[in-house]
Symmetry: D2
């Protein structure tokens, strides 16, 4: 059960969102409230867009709470669209390549969830990645494999449909042979302009997801970082759409029910 | 508030004591019970005696819970006297050189506690280290400085008296100018044959300390790693003496009261 | 171009072989002589057999030359059969899981070489790993994939035949479509009793391999660690067989020429 | 013998100066040409000024050549004044706190050199640090101690005079008792506007130092990163002064000769 935050809005330093709040992501790395994991000390990552079409990444294996570099970067980096993520590993190794966010071309992705029985389903999920994207498989997580499958399914052309196509394939895999493995997919993707988030689960409860919108600013989080009342919960099996210069839309998104979006 | 375990007895692998118990030190690195720190994820260390007079060390900055090397070493290393320690930093950096145990000559030392107002007192504590031992100051912790001061005070000749002399000096420092800074010193030292542990505090409550004795085997811990009833608590301001081939003795040890041991 | 050493003989500490010689593996990590890589600073590893059937491992991402833990372990660990390896990465990430040796069941493996055009051939090589061994794929190197394919081909029953079968499959892959990609495979495997080493290349020169035999002691190295004259070069496309209690045998081993061993 | 680069000029990404040149600092981390160290793989660091008065830092213990984060940051960070440094340790530990640059208040500092017989002189050099700056001593290097002594000597008011005062004290220490220890001090300091560099040695040859000036842009380096002819060598025992909006001045700076600047 990882914790993450995504920001889209005016160009800002990351500090007021990642390190300074009372219940900041750094505080959540030590103790999260709405998660079974307790601490999220298995590495972390930042991803952000600046003047290049592709994002920058800073990923480290040590816990976020003791990383001086992270504090410096959150204070000095500036972006209009950034991700931050603290990891609680669910079986795969603690390496930088297994830390979120993941980047591929202009897209980046981060995830809180898992594909049940990963050891059994890993090959089948990896088989969803087209050859063209397989060299981008730098780590061994389920999250990265799902992201690269989404890239292969056309994330660049139609993010919702590509994500849905991959999730439908995953639903097929976890339900294979009547096994009804669990699948949790609470994630965010972005391309430098648009931000999307998903709260999906199959055969299981969904990991929490909240957002706050204020003018053109949108903040999406695993759990609120302050006690203000203006956080809205995204319902299970819904997607959040925050396209550049548009207001947030929350739409049903349930790949388990139907193949038609 | 760190957590640690010290073992002296038949030559054994570390596994049954460090990684396998229900509430093992690894489990305590994720969540300790008798400590305010919660997790102890700021590095860890092993120290052990084998066929050489000086100990071996394995210290790492990542959390103990995700370190594959630690599991391999706890399974494959064998020793008749070893220390294991998981760290919750109290202000100094997370580096290997700041992880416990510390080694100097034939001695090793590990600690759970702190010298209050370390930034203010650091120079004065470092001044307790004789020149001959100052090159052994590889890190920046209060713990290492206290250990090297103990070495300088004659640990090799009279461990109890040397420890008492340094603690009396520390009591003087924390009580300087009527400030009554806090001092907690729950620690273990060994020289390859004899094991000593201390539970001391000044102007504060003492960190917990327990032991279990069975035949020639002595295990000393910050908190019990199982629910058996044969753990004995060491009272505050007492020392545990477990010399080679002797039974455990618990003796008063209160440097704040008197200069005579 | 990595550098490695394998030892089989009387139980010993690793020091006289890994850290102390004039041109030790540690010295080779800073500057090797018979390699194009120069430094080998992309991590390192130790693997050894003790009282358990499966080996212990210590693998780290930092350069061998600055790792204090490595010096302690080489001094304090003891084994009758151990591997040590310093890595010069050929494209895959510097993670512990990509450092050698690799272990699977009772076997361990280390490698100096590469599969040409790994990005193109990776999927095909990974497809050689049977499902039963795919959960053991913890990293992303060509070396680990080849090892797990060897495990799947029956390393436990017939090490030479299993290795040959996998290399023949690799020869097929590198020669596919007339592309004649390069393959270098200078490696060692062991099971706690027997030690085997291979010096093979296809469409390329072979990486160097030497050994020294003295009584029941066998040392196999990428390049000699001293200037003594009793090192024997293993010819290209040959295997070294050092079974427990037997003398070294050097036998032709050229999977490119023939499918019959 | 470390290698470094300092930049002051138009706001730029670091890429064209740190990672892209033919003989970039990253290339020098693998193999430098004008240094006895060969590789500089004992950690690295970036320091830069943005919209805050104090600098940001990114320091890591792994070699620069394999750090993905470094490449991302050099591409995405932008600054008008930045430092980059690759380290070849001269005896102190490989920790982030021992990597350059060091920061204190608005100042940052990086160094290529050493204080001879550091183990013997360490206490005396640390005694040059006033109490007010001693809590900023996070590591154990000679470089950081010298920097904090410079801060204490008034770097903020008169950088040249403060540096000279500390170097004169160091000259006194290395020449104590007629021992004539060696001292090499090729360093850079900056405060967000002004950049200073020093090439000084006592009882020894001076480490190399070059600069290139083009309009308002000044680049100072340990060794040129390309083969262009417009690099100028700073003579031994001289200082480079590059104040904001001023041209570079090279002035004599020899603390061994005289106490008057």
């Amino acid at each position: 059960m990882c914790r993450w935050i995504a920001y889209r809005g005016e160009t800002t330093s990351f500090e007021p969102y990642v390190t300074e709040p009372e219940h900041s992501l750094i505080a959540q790395s030590i103790r999260s409230l709405q998660s079974t994991a307790g601490s999220n000390g298995d590495g972390f990552g930042l991803g952000w867009y600046g003047e290049h079409p592709e994002p920058g990444l800073y990923r480290e294996t040590r816990p976020a709470w003791s990383d001086e570099n992270l504090r410096y970067l959150c204070r000095h980096l500036r972006s209009h669209l950034f991700f931050a993520h603290v990891r609680a590993a669910t079986g795969t190794a603690v390496t930088r390549q297994n830390c979120h966010p993941f980047a591929c071309g202009q897209w980046m992705f981060m995830h809180n969830g898992f594909v049940g029985s990963w050891n059994r389903l890993r090959r089948k999920v990896e088989a969803l990645i087209p050859d063209a994207y397989y060299p981008s498989r730098l780590g061994t997580t389920d999250s990265e494999a799902v992201f690269l499958a989404m890239m292969g399914a056309g994330l660049e052309n139609d993010p919702l449909r590509a994500t849905e196509a991959v999730l439908q394939a995953l639903v097929g895999l976890v339900n294979e042979d009547g096994l009804r493995e669990r699948l949790r997919f609470t994630s965010a993707i972005a391309n430098g302009r648009d931000l999307y988030a998903f709260r999906v689960s199959v055969n299981d409860a969904a990991n929490t997801l909240y957002f706050r919108e204020d003018g053109g600013q949108v903040i999406v989080v695993s759990e609120p970082f302050d006690k203000e009342s203006d956080w809205t919960e995204v319902p299970p099996n819904h997607a959040l759409i925050a396209r550049a210069s548009e207001s947030v839309k929350i739409v049903p998104f349930d790949p388990a029910i139907s193949g038609d979006s």
